[in-house]
Amino acid sequence: MEPRQDELERQDFAWMVLASLVFFILVAIAAWRAFDTEYGPLQGRFRQILEQHNQLAAARRFRPGIRQIWNPEIGVVDRCITCHLGYEWGGQLPTDLPQPFAPHPPLPYLDKHPFPQFGCTVCHGGQGWATTASMAHVGGEHWQSPMLSDKLARRLGLTAAQLIQMRCNICHRHDLSTPGMEEINQAKDLVKRKKCLLCHAIEGKGGLVGPELTYFGDKNPELFDFKNVTGAHTVFNWSYQHLMNPDQITPNTTMPTFGFEQAQARALTLLLLSWKRNNFPPQYIPTPVEIAQPPYKLASAVGEPPMVAGAESGRNIFRTRGCAFCHTVGQGRLLGPDLKGVGARRDERWMRQWLADPASVIRAYPEFAHWPDEYDGIVMPNQNLSAEEINALVAYLSKL
């Protein structure tokens, strides 16, 4: 019987023992990472809190583990309540418990928004999936909807209660005003008073001069030009600064400077950001107290522009290219002047030049330099009309 050759044993055996030990250590580390959770100790403390406040039955029933509000109807998976354990204990536990144990404040509208149906993130934002504080609240580099915390609100010059209205209005956008949503109510009022719809289309109503705003809140941050924005590159900052001083953020914009106060511009920004697509089922959409109507007559409702024999195509362009949004014929000044008798005031050459490029006429003739001041800082936007369209329009206008 010859001795068995096993010469690699000497080389490998010690390494194998070492690798096995390392494997056990790594399994232990993995188990430690898996079971040393942030929420574990917090749940232990909540159980003590229940006992201290004589909720002994509840304390006995309390089982540790991840908890969630799950409502597939509106896509809610909110694990916030894994740590925020006292949220529905209002009345039984004191309101001054430290976070994350404090009960949700007994707000008047909570009855209409039950927790099991709406969850947390629908109002508060944040990443409902996450089970660690920082990933749930801020969500990391790749999470676009952070929790609307006091800290975040302060940075924007608001309170959390004000900031959250932005999310209320995703469902409540058709309310004319909603109790408890003062910022948004103020902004809705401003939209009415400043006649935003003259230039901007919102939900199929309004003018064609400015961009459509129905789903402004869904516009991707990457699509904004932040070249002239000071501070952080956020849509909030862009909107706020654009409302305060449009020309500085978007040079040569047609949008006039309205002289908003800071609080007004912030409220309007919240309103703009709240205009998001809403995929909630119909039963979640509130019935408005009062339907929002454009409070002023839009030009299209003012009346059809008059017929002029031999200039039908010009009248057609006048109607379809949006001239009637700002100009009436014989019914008074709207955003631009009344065009009744314009043919007598201006010759054809002047009209042709004006229609081709209004701003160049203002630059070329000092006697017209005061016009923007007379018309709320607005210069008629270049409508990019073709030569044929200009000819047809001039034929129509000169006979008015």
């Binding site: 019987m1 010859e2 068995r4 050759q5 096993d6 010469e7 690699l8 044993e9 490998d12 055996f13 390494w15 194998m16 690798a19 096995s20 390392v22 494997f23 790594l26 399994v27 580390i29 993995a30 990472r33 898996a34 991840i66 969630q68 998976v77 694990r79 990443q127 999936w129 996450a130 089970t131 660690t132 990933m135 790749h142 999470w143 676009q144 909807s145 952070p146 609307l148 975040l152 924007l156 991707n220 941050p221 990457e222 904004f224 932040f226 952080a232 590159h233 956020t234 849509v235 909030f236 950001l273």
Partner: protein
């Protein structure tokens, strides 16, 4: 039996120290065991050494095994739907017990398998191990490399985040540049013209069934061929230098005398062409080493997975291209080539997609496939690291390798928004956010 002997026998039973009595039992143990008969009874010592093969092929296979196990478990949680896929990633990361470990291990093992397969190929080239009868197995290896890349690429889409969607967009747009069939290939792969639910389902089915099946089949054939080709090429120098020594014939030839076996006796026929002194028993020498490699690979994947999470970006958004959009790292050298060979000359644009995406990798692949038949070096250059005779071949291969790695590094670390160069340390322009 004395007490002492009994105790020692008991201890040996408890400790299960398998101790074959003699060569024959050791050899038969291997042949008769389903798992061990993978190896021949005896293996050249040099084939099992660290310095010759670095066990790279074995490491790739072990990583593939880890990917199979973690992948099968992940299938219990993953939903291949554009609405649910991203959520199942979040569930794995936050709610499923050890779900993060499964996902991280699967992700990092996948990157590792691609990298190790590349390294294994480099090892085979630098040792000239693709020559002679092993040329066929070299081709099987190339097929394995391509299926590995395809498996990794199809898996890349499944998390359905921005990283996944746009890496696959870049990858499939490169495929489109293939002449004649490019558009068709992309259409078949995606189940349409855009990456959506159809593409996700196709990638999923390819990723969890067809491509792994192909890898298993190719892998089995690859291993079988290694056996049929006589083992690793490391034995070729031994064969070449073998001193003919008179061998003692076995004492008995009774089996052949009794007519139970034809021809020469089993002992004569089973002798390899190697010296006894150059060989070790596959079991336990090689199997123990294999267990060691398995343990080390497992340890490394767990270690990385515990400390580094697999990336997950925003949910996929086909309407928004991240800036920059990068292909998976192993295709990044192609993207770099595509980007740098797209040259506008007046109104004509030289298609970088064709040059960088099709011609360059096509030529490289064809050269690799034909190399065994182009290599005219002598048998002495076989199975030896950096044989002097093959120095120009090795230098060529090394140059291509270094260039590819350099392009990948540029793609990973230096390319920023608008594919501009941002040297490490220079900040990228901030990513705009909503709040």
């Amino acid at each position: 039996m004395t007490m002492r002997e009994r105790l020692s026998a008991l201890w040996r039973t408890l400790a299960w120290s398998w101790d074959p009595r003699g060569e024959r039992e050791a050899g038969e143990a291997i042949v008769r065991n389903l798992w061990l008969h993978w190896f021949p009874a005896k293996v050249a010592r040099v084939s099992a050494s660290w310095s010759y093969s670095a066990w790279l092929g074995a490491i790739a296979a072990i990583l593939f095994l880890i990917l199979n196990v973690t992948g099968l478990l992940l299938m219990f949680f993953y939903v291949p739907s554009t609405e649910k896929a991203y959520g199942s990633m979040k569930d794995l990361d936050y709610a499923v017990t050890l779900g993060w470990l499964l996902r991280n291990q699967h992700r990092w093992a996948a990157h590792g398998m691609v990298a190790v397969a590349f390294l294994h190929m480099a090892r085979v080239f630098f040792t000239g191990a693709y020559r002679g009868p092993r040329a066929l197995n070299w081709l099987v290896g190339l097929a394995l490399l391509l299926t590995t890349l395809l498996c990794s690429f199809t898996g890349y889409l499944l998390p359905w985040d921005q990283l996944a969607l746009w890496a696959v967009t870049v990858g499939t747009n490169i495929a489109r540049e293939a002449p004649l069939a490019g558009e068709f290939i992309r259409y078949v792969l995606l189940g349409g013209t855009q990456i959506g639910q159809n593409a996700l389902l196709r990638f999923y089915v390819l990723h969890v069934f067809f491509i792994p099946l192909a890898i298993w089949a190719l892998f089995a054939y690859h291993m079988w061929r290694v056996r049929k080709d006589g083992g690793l090429a490391a034995i070729e120098p031994l064969r070449l230098n073998r001193q003919m020594q008179p061998k003692q014939m076995p004492a008995t030839k009774s089996y052949s005398l009794w007519g139970l076996a034809r021809g020469t006796s089993a002992a004569v026929r089973s002798s390899t062409e190697l010296e006894e002194s150059d060989q070790v028993f596959a079991s336990p020498s090689v199997t123990r080493r294999l267990v060691l490699v398995v343990l080390v690979v497992l340890n490394v994947t767990i270690l990385i997975s515990v400390f580094f999470n697999a990336p997950l970006e925003e949910a996929a958004n086909p309407a928004l291209t991240p800036n920059p959009a990068k292909a998976p790292w192993y295709f990044l050298w192609l993207q770099e080539l595509v980007a740098s060979t797209t040259i506008p000359i007046g109104s004509i644009r030289i298609s970088g997609g064709l040059i960088g995406g099709i011609i360059v990798p096509g030529v490289l692949l064809a050269a690799a496939a034909l190399w065994p038949w182009l290599d005219r070096s002598s048998p002495a250059a076989e199975g030896v690291w950096f044989a002097r005779e093959r120095r120009w071949q090795n230098a060529t291969f090394a140059t291509v390798l270094v260039l590819i790695v350099a392009l990948i590094m540029i793609g990973i670390f230096v390319r920023g928004p608008y594919w501009r160069l941002y040297w490490p340390g220079t900040p990228w322009p901030p990513t705009p956010r909503t709040l």
